[in-house]
Every structure is written in C-alpha cells, then in structure tokens.
C-alpha cells in the first residue's frame, strides 16, 4: 500500500474520485449528473493514460500498473455493452472503474521495474491483460445475476435485455477471454518452467473459475430459463472463484513464491 505523490498519482486519484462520486450521485437518482461525472472520470483516465504514454515513450501495457491504468478507461466497455450487447449497468461500471484503478493507485509501483528473468516474456502482458478484461465482463455479468436473483430490474429500458439474458450475453463475451488467459498462462508456463500445467493453487483456482462457467453454459443449455435462479447463482459462483483466484496468493507473494525463478 503506497500513495503516489506524483502528477501520475494525482490523475489516478482524480479518476477514482470522479467515478465514486458519479456512482453516489447516480444512486441518489441524479442520473444526468452521474453520467456527466462518469464522463469526467473517463476524461481523467484518458489523460492519466496519455500522460503515462508520453512519459515512458512506449505503449503503456508492459507492467501491471499500466494494465490497470488502461482498464480504468472503462467507459467504452459501458458504451459497448449498452449499444452492442444491449446490456445496461452504468452505475455498477462506475464502481468497477474505481475498483480497477485501486491497484494502479495504491498497490503497483509506477516506476518502470526491473523484471526478474522469469517475467521477461512477451506473454506477461497479454496473459494479464486478457484476464483483467474478462474479469470486467464477468463482474458486469455478476451485477446482472444479482439483479435477477433479487427480482429487480433497475433500468426500465425496452432496448435493454432483462437481467437473465444480460448475464448470459456478458458471460459469452467474457468466457473466450477467460479461456485465452488460461491458455496463454499455460503456454507461458511451458516456456518458462517446462510444464504447461504445474498444479499450483493459483492455476487450480483459475481452472475452477473457468469450470464454473463451463458448468453454467451446460446447465443453462439443459434447463434454459426455467431454472433462472440457478443460472444466476452459477454466474455469481464464477465471480467468487475469480476473486479467490486473485487473492489466494496475493500478488506481492506471488512473484517471489512458486511463480518465480531460482528461489
């Protein structure tokens, strides 16, 4: 945990503040103001990312700080979900945006770090980035699943799908990314350590997350919307497994732990 007393840090904190106030204001039924604040947060996020780009003079996707900074520009995902997938959830997205930026603001170092040999691979960034992207869609799916279980649909918009269908559609978008993350990780494991599967807890939990969504697909195929509550429950379980995957071996202990070279 560290606070960044830099312009870069300030931009991140401004974005988080804008997202959080956007969320609160939206909850207080000031949708228009909330949306404006969300857009403002997005503008800060773009400036933060652009500043980073100018600062490091390469596409800023080479370490975890930069990946989370990138994900902080979540607005296009909201827009894509609404326009293309016909799924709402703007308010939740504001919160997801703030959560995603938290590691960039408080956990990961902004100064370019000297990577240990095992992490010097072109696979590092895509493996992490793809996972994080899928987590955003799965988080959105979880919000919809919770609405379905609660029997509520806060957004009365005829253009949007109802929560059960919205959950399915979001998982359909997130699942290929989840699969890609798993396979890239496995391929990298082979390149770096000699085994494409090492049976370590992080790997097993990521497999669990993946399997829960596989179960979701098959259960939903078998029963359709007749067992809508179970569908939603499986979607939520998937997110629970993802959170455990992320926290099980927390990142600070992950690098010097089993996932490292020559310890």
């Amino acid at each position: 945990m560290e606070i960044k007393f830099t312009l870069q840090g300030l931009l991140v904190y401004l974005t988080i503040a804008a997202y959080l106030s956007a969320f609160v204001v939206t909850m207080l039924r000031r949708a228009r103001t909330g949306h404006l604040l969300y857009l403002m947060g997005f503008a800060f996020a773009v400036v933060a990312y652009g500043y980073r780009w100018v600062h490091v003079r390469h596409v800023p996707l080479q370490n975890l700080f930069e990946v989370f900074l990138c994900l902080g520009m979540i607005y296009p995902v909201s827009l894509f979900s609404r326009r293309v997938l016909r799924v709402g959830g703007y308010a939740a997205d504001m919160l997801i945006g703030a959560i995603v930026l938290f590691p960039a603001g408080f956990v990961f170092h902004a100064e370019p770090q000297q990577l240990p040999p095992a992490l010097q691979s072109w696979l590092f960034t895509p493996h992490v980035a793809v996972y994080m992207f899928s987590y955003i869609f799965m988080a959105k799916a979880t919000v919809q699943a919770v609405w379905q279980l609660a029997g509520k649909n806060p957004e009365h918009d005829r253009n949007l799908l109802e929560p059960e269908q919205a959950t399915y559609r979001l998982i359909c978008v997130g699942f290929p990314l989840l699969t890609l993350g798993l396979i890239l990780g496995s391929y990298w494991g082979k390149k770096a350590w000699g085994d494409y599967w090492g049976w370590d807890p992080k790997e097993l939990w990521s497999l669990v997350s993946w399997l829960v969504y596989v179960a979701y697909f098959h259960f939903r195929y078998m029963f359709g919307k007749r067992r809508a509550r179970t569908n939603s429950l499986l979607a939520i379980l998937g997110m629970a497994a993802i959170i455990i995957t992320l926290l099980w071996v927390n990142l600070s202990r992950l690098f010097p732990g089993l996932h490292s070279y020559a310890t």
Partner: protein
C-alpha cells in the same frame, strides 16, 4: 431431448462439478501433493472417463458435429486430455510397457563449464541417472545484470540515496558529508601483499566477489578510499558517517550450450530463462546454477511427449470458443446490416 442424451448431459455436468471440487481440494494441499494426487490411478480413471464422455457427447449430439465452433471446442478438450494423459507419468510407463518406448519424462542435468554431459538425474537425491542418446556441452555459463548497477547510500540521519554506478563521476552524498565517486569495479575482489603493502586486484580465476572502490572526499577535504562488497551488505565502521551498499539486479541467466551427437556438434543454443532448447524430443530449461563460483549450470529436462497434441487442443479450443461466442455473431450482424 431423449433420455439417453439427457443422461449424457447430466454425466457431463457431474464430471465438470467433480473436477471443480477436486481442483479446489488440490489448491488446498499445495502444488507438489496436488500433482501426485491428480496422477494417481483413481484420478487416471476419471480423466479417461471425462475424455470418453466428451467423445460420446460429440457422437450423440448432432449439433456438436454440425456447428463448427461447438465441434472445435469439444474436440479441443478431448485433445488436451489425451495429450496430457499421454505425456503423464502413467502415460510414459504405459508406453514403455506396450511399445518399448524408453523416454525419460523429467529430470535435471548438471553440466560443468567446458565438459559434455549426457546423464539426466531423475531422483531428488541425485543418485539415479538415465542417459540421453546425445550430450550437451556447456561452453560458458554467465549471469547478466541490469545496467547500470546501483550504489545505495544511507546516512545516519536516515536519508537514502540511490546512485547509478558510473566510473569517476562525482556526486554529493548529503549536506556536510562531502562527495564521492566510484573509481574501480571488481568482479572477483582479492587482497594480497606486495612489499608489505596491501594490494587489491581483480582475480581472473574461478570465484566471484563483486565489489566497488569508492573515493570519498569529506567536507573538510580529507580523502578516503572504501571498498563496498555486493556479497557483504551493511558492512560499516563506527566512524563512517554513512553506509554504502552495492546492489545489482539480475536480468538473465545464460548457458551457452552445444549439442554433441556421435562426437559431432549438431547444434548450439544459448539457453536462457524463457528460452529453452528443444532437441531430440526434449526441452532443456535454465533452472539453477553454481551460486558459489559459477562453474556449472543446472538444466531441467522435460520430454515433449504429447505436448503438440495439447497445443493442437489449445488452438481448437480457443478458435472454437471465439468463433462460436464472438465471430459468428459479429458476422451475422454484418450480414444483416449489408442486406
């Protein structure tokens, strides 16, 4: 859906849930025990059952064959399972018994600089060996560091300074503490006597003792020479106004390897972390080294049995899922727009 198909789907769901539960159990017992657990005979039965179930599913659900994405992802899973089982410990035992294929599954090689080696250590204690039909010769093992290295300075007031090591570049240490500069670097620092005087030199022989010679000019003009050792951090004298540490960050471990077959050199590669050597059905990985003197390297050896079947499965699985869940819909949308 008829009863039989429904039963298959229930069995599939049960198999998926079972693997989920087993994986959670595996996560609790740690990697080594989990690996042993998932390779036991009852689990092998489960893996075969799962693969067979997928195959039966493909056979009885017409959509799984007709819809390309569905076929690719389910067939991909079959390939991953089959490839994984073929390359497993039990898989290797079976191949030996049925087809007489003698392939070492995994182990490690210790190779000294300038020598060839064809033995693979296959047990933890280092007593059991298997031999390869070719040898690996280690020309040189080296460690590379990020440049520049750094000199870390901590004053008694707790101020910290990080200075990149550049020869003869003077820098201020802190208020009233004067200046300093690095005047010499050593890879293998040694001390000797010449005419009763201490002399310090870089020993080209085997050994490693990286050090810096730092010239400190105090505020009152007095000059002193200090030696800072990477392997002995935090070493200071009572009268020192500040503490100096020399630290380098490793960027890579490199083994320069030649492959020797029938006394002929048939290939060469610098084996680095993330860049294994692939030859004769095996992958060789930079794994460890002689951390005292850098005289030998340790490569871990893994057979590539079944690997390409697994990779083919990965491709099918990925392409199938991306096609079925994404591209199919994008294409349909584009078609409906243009119509």
């Amino acid at each position: 859906m008829n009863k039989f198909r429904r039963a298959i789907l229930w069995a599939a769901l049960a198999a998926i849930v079972a693997l989920t539960v087993l994986s959670i159990y595996g996560a609790f017992i740690g990697a080594d025990r989990a690996q042993a657990f998932f390779n036991r005979v009852p689990l092998a039965v489960y893996w075969v059952f799962f693969a067979a179930l997928l195959a039966v599913g493909i056979a009885v659900f017409r959509r799984l064959v007709r819809v390309p994405g569905l076929l690719m992802m389910h067939a991909g899973c079959v390939l991953i399972l089959v490839g994984g089982m073929w390359g497993s410990k039990l898989g290797h035992d079976l191949q030996k018994r049925l087809f007489g294929i003698e392939k070492v599954r995994e182990g490690r090689m210790v190779i000294y600089e300038g020598t060839s080696e064809n033995r693979i250590v296959v047990d933890d204690a280092g007593r059991e060996f298997e031999t390869l039909p070719f040898s690996l010769k280690l020309n040189d093992f080296r460690i590379e560091y990020y440049q520049p290295a750094n000199l870390y300075i901590e004053t008694r007031q707790g101020e910290r300074l990080k200075v990149p090591v550049e020869l003869d570049k003077e820098f201020a240490v802190g208020e009233g503490l004067g200046t300093a500069k690095v005047v010499r670097t050593f890879e293998n620092f040694k001390m000797g006597k010449e005419d009763g005087e201490n002399v310090f030199y870089d020993d080209p022989n085997v050994g490693s003792n990286p050090a810096l010679e730092v010239q400190v000019t105090q505020a009152d003009g007095q000059v002193a020479t200090k030696y800072i050792f990477e392997k002995f951090p935090g070493h200071s004298h009572g009268q020192d106004a500040f503490l100096m540490n020399y630290r380098r960050t490793i960027s890579d471990y490199i083994s320069e390897i030649e492959i020797v077959e029938n006394d002929k050199v048939v290939g060469a590669k610098d084996v680095e972390v993330n860049h294994p050597l692939h030859f004769g059905g095996y992958h060789f990985y930079q794994s460890s080294y002689d951390d005292k003197a850098g005289r030998y390297t340790v490569l871990s050896v893994h057979a590539d049995t079944g690997l390409y079947v697994v990779y083919a499965g990965y491709w099918l699985l990925c392409l199938g899922i991306i096609w079925h869940l994404w591209l199919r819909h994008v294409l349909a949308k584009m078609k409906s727009k243009s119509a």
